[in-house]
């Protein structure tokens, strides 16, 4: 079987090479095109930030649901930053970056959720303290 470079498009551009994190997509050059993704990201991030601060300050969101709403907005904004500022995509040339990120997110989730879970359990199992008795710190 021929092993020649049939997989390459006519331009000779390398087809399956990896993309570095933070590296913008290789579609055309020029200042205006390059800056577009950052502009979109800035717009979305500003919108989400303003929404976060507005919800926290006003009573628009039902009180008990506010923490979840703020956390959802924050996760959305982190996604915007990852996609438009760090250019982490789901494309085949970015697989390594996404897998590393997925592992990082897993560890972050384990550390935070695990700590909260364990400490809540410990607090639950502590005998109630008398008033005026302070816990050793």
């Amino acid at each position: 079987m021929s092993e020649a470079a049939e997989d390459r498009p006519a331009g000779g551009e390398r087809r399956f090479s990896d993309r570095a994190p933070g590296e913008p997509p290789r579609e055309g050059a020029g200042f205006a095109r390059g800056i577009r993704s950052y502009l979109i990201g800035l717009g979305l991030a500003v919108g989400l930030t303003v929404a976060s601060f507005y919800f926290a300050a006003s009573g628009l969101v039902w009180g008990p649901a506010l923490p979840m709403a703020l956390i959802v907005l924050a996760i959305a904004q982190m996604g915007v930053h990852l996609a438009f500022f760090l250019h982490i995509t789901t494309g085949p040339d970015s697989t390594n970056n996404v897998l590393a990120l997925a592992f990082g997110v897993l560890i972050v989730f384990l550390v935070i959720a695990g700590s909260l879970w364990i400490m809540a359990n410990l607090n639950h199992n502590m005998p109630p303290m008398r008033q005026g008795m302070s816990m050793p710190r």
């Binding site: 079987m1 021929s2 092993e3 049939e6 997989d7 390459r8 390398r14 399956f16 090479s17 990896d18 993309r19 570095a20 994190p21 933070g22 590296e23 913008p24 050059a29 020029g30 200042f31 390059g34 800056i35 993704s37 950052y38 990201g41 800035l42 991030a45 930030t49 976060s52 601060f53 926290a56 300050a57 506010l66 923490p67 703020l70 956390i71 907005l73 924050a74 904004q77 982190m78 930053h81 990852l82 500022f85 760090l86 494309g91 085949p92 697989t95 970056n97 590393a100 990120l101 592992f103 990082g104 560890i107 972050v108 550390v111 935070i112 695990g114 700590s115 909260l116 302070s134 710190r137």
Partner: protein, 223 residues
């Protein structure tokens, strides 16, 4: 099977389960035939791994803050201390700074020194404004007797927010270094690799700040 069928374009762009043929120079590492990836990619990927480990370190600080947030030892809680207007300005500074850093990387890509220096200067000024506001907030808290020794909550608060502030300060020094290196050596390949790492670092700090202003300030003051 004809040669045309054997070498037809695969449907799966990820080519899962397909061995790579001898393409020469275009393969990722670990597939044998292609040889190592370009240094630009290896460097940025290695720095990406470092950033993720840095984020994992921050997650430990976040976890300790979340556990200790209620332990005020009779002292003030977040509701009494946090000034959300100040935090909103800080957030705006850091976000605009991240955008300016993006402009600088586009300028570096296009080898446009004027735009590069201008964007980097804006990035620096906004980052410095952020640090100034944070130092001002910390000094105000300490002056009122609410330093890190006051309660477990304040210890966790100063550790988490201060660690982010230290990262931003280090980033500001790195930024000046990058400007000086581009000035002295031009847009050389190795300088551009360093600059890519810097811009990754700066954007990652903004991501951490998003988690920080939500968890510490908004949830602490409002919810």
């Amino acid at each position: 099977m004809t040669i045309a069928a054997a070498t037809a374009e695969p449907d799966d762009p990820y080519r899962i389960g397909h061995g790579r043929g001898g393409y020469g120079d275009s393969e990722a590492t670990g597939h044998g035939a292609g040889g190592p990836a370009p240094r630009r990619i290896v460097t940025a990927y290695g720095f990406w791994i470092f950033l993720l480990s840095d984020i994992i370190m921050f997650s430990a600080f976040f976890a300790s803050y979340a556990v200790l947030a209620g332990q005020t030892a009779g002292g003030p809680g977040g509701r009494d201390l946090f000034d959300l207007r100040n935090v909103a300005i800080e957030t705006g500074c850091l976000l605009a700074s991240s955008f300016a850093c993006g402009v600088a990387s586009v300028a570096a890509e296009g080898r446009e020194p004027i735009w590069f220096y201008a964007a980097m200067a804006v990035t620096f000024l906004l980052g410095a404004a952020f640090i100034g506001l944070e130092v001002h907030e910390f000094a105000g808290l300490a002056a009122r007797g609410y330093g890190p020794q006051r309660s477990a909550f304040l210890t966790a608060f100063f550790t988490l927010v201060g660690c982010h502030g230290l990262h931003v300060s280090a980033g500001l020094l790195w930024l000046l270094t990058m400007m000086a290196q581009v000035f002295a050596k031009g847009f050389r390949a190795d300088i551009l690799r360093r600059f890519t790492c810097f811009s990754l670092f700066w954007h990652a700090l903004d991501i951490i700040w998003v988690a920080l202003f939500t968890v510490v300030y908004l949830l602490g003051a409002g919810a």
